[in-house]
Amino acid sequence: MKKTIIIGSGVAGMQTALCLAERGIEPLIIEKESEPGGKLRGWHVLFPSFTPAEEVLGELRHRVREQGIEVMTNAEAVGLTPQSVTLADGRQLTGDAVVLTSGFTLFDARIKEEYGYGIYDNVFTSADIERMMAEGRVTKADGTAPQRIAFLHCVGSRDEKVCQQHCSRVCCITGVKQAMEMKRLFPGAEVFNFYMDIRMFGPGYEEMYREAQQRCNIHFVRGRISEAAPTLDGRVQIKAEDTLTGRPLRMSVDMLVLLVGMRANDDNASLAASAGLKQAPSGFLEPRDLFLRSTESSTEGIFYAGTVTAPKNIGETLAEASATADAVAKFLEK
């Protein structure tokens, strides 16, 4: 029986493994964290349907267990070839092909110091909000309910000042989704979204955006927040230009939520160097061909699925993982 090593146990890794197992290929998933699941762990609900993330993740995990697919946790890949993966502890795993599904890293909002994340108590990231929602307790730092919430789009995306030129794609819709959830939790609160451009690329997204505007009365201000400062009463004062009126805007909010982007993993460079993979200027790995061989790497026998090549949403990732399994199977038949 042919064996494939899958690096990363997020939705991409699990879906690839399941599809390979169906084709009679033995998958081995390695995961550097102590628990499988990847970034979807700790996520609350998925846009645009508000489907609980656990529904998707739980189902995948259940099927992985059911199929008896081996998941090695606390195993970090530091080098790879088409037939082997070297782990941080020196162990070497061998197989017939390798699929890289190591995903992305969330942008560290502390780098955008001017937004005050990690400095002021009431500045949060979208990941914080998702976690708080999953825990069922969304409050300001002092435990009270927010009256006024601002979301800021494109934190760590489309920003050359932090060397992240690319668009992370999913933050726009995440901002809309979280704004709507906030409105549902705190119907009396005012919710503002500060954006540069709104990019609603997926099915149902544009409808959701309209619903947020019209039904939920969420305010959309076209202007990027430039600075946040604390007020004496522990709120956050933000400054932006309301570019549609051409005038500077300042306001105090109870919560400032930074919609953090997806950036390439730092270890992409060393992995790419070990296996002769191509890395795009953005840091993500580059498929052999964007159209006809988008799941293959530039090295024969190494494949990609999910956000290791570019920011994607869950649906796209799952679909791509199936396509990757298909490509791996064809490769192993040869």
Binding site: R158, K161, D197, R222, R224, K239, E241, D242, T243, G246
Partner: protein
């Protein structure tokens, strides 16, 4: 001299008329600093601008109007800039905004 009141006054047309505007200066400016075309109008520069919070100065608007061939008053407006450079520090497109301010003043000094 007596004037006839028609009940309205004729003011300068509001539209930016790209059929009439002379883009020569604008082209010169963009040739020297092509990166200005990369502006996505996010307003960060104007939001941090100290001069902009004290006066009606709006850096984004001034350079956008200049790019459209609307030069009237641009030099005077740009002269409100203190050149402190905060805008350059926040521009997500990495535009050399201080260079833009100086360039516009240099090119439009005689307008």
């Amino acid at each position: 001299m007596a004037t006839i009141d028609f009940g309205y006054t004729i003011s300068k047309p509001r539209a930016i008329d790209l059929d009439r505007n002379n883009l020569r200066k604008s082209d010169e400016i963009l040739r020297e600093m092509p990166e200005l075309q990369a502006c996505i109008g996010c307003g960060s520069c104007t939001a941090v601008c100290t001069a902009g919070s004290l006066t009606t100065f709006n850096f984004r608007k001034v350079h956008t109007l200049v790019r459209r061939g609307e030069y009237q008053g641009a030099y005077e407006e740009m002269n409100k800039c203190m050149l402190c450079g905060k805008c350059r520090l926040v521009c997500p497109r990495g535009i050399n905004t201080r260079g833009v301010a100086l360039l516009i003043k240099r090119k439009l000094g005689d307008f």
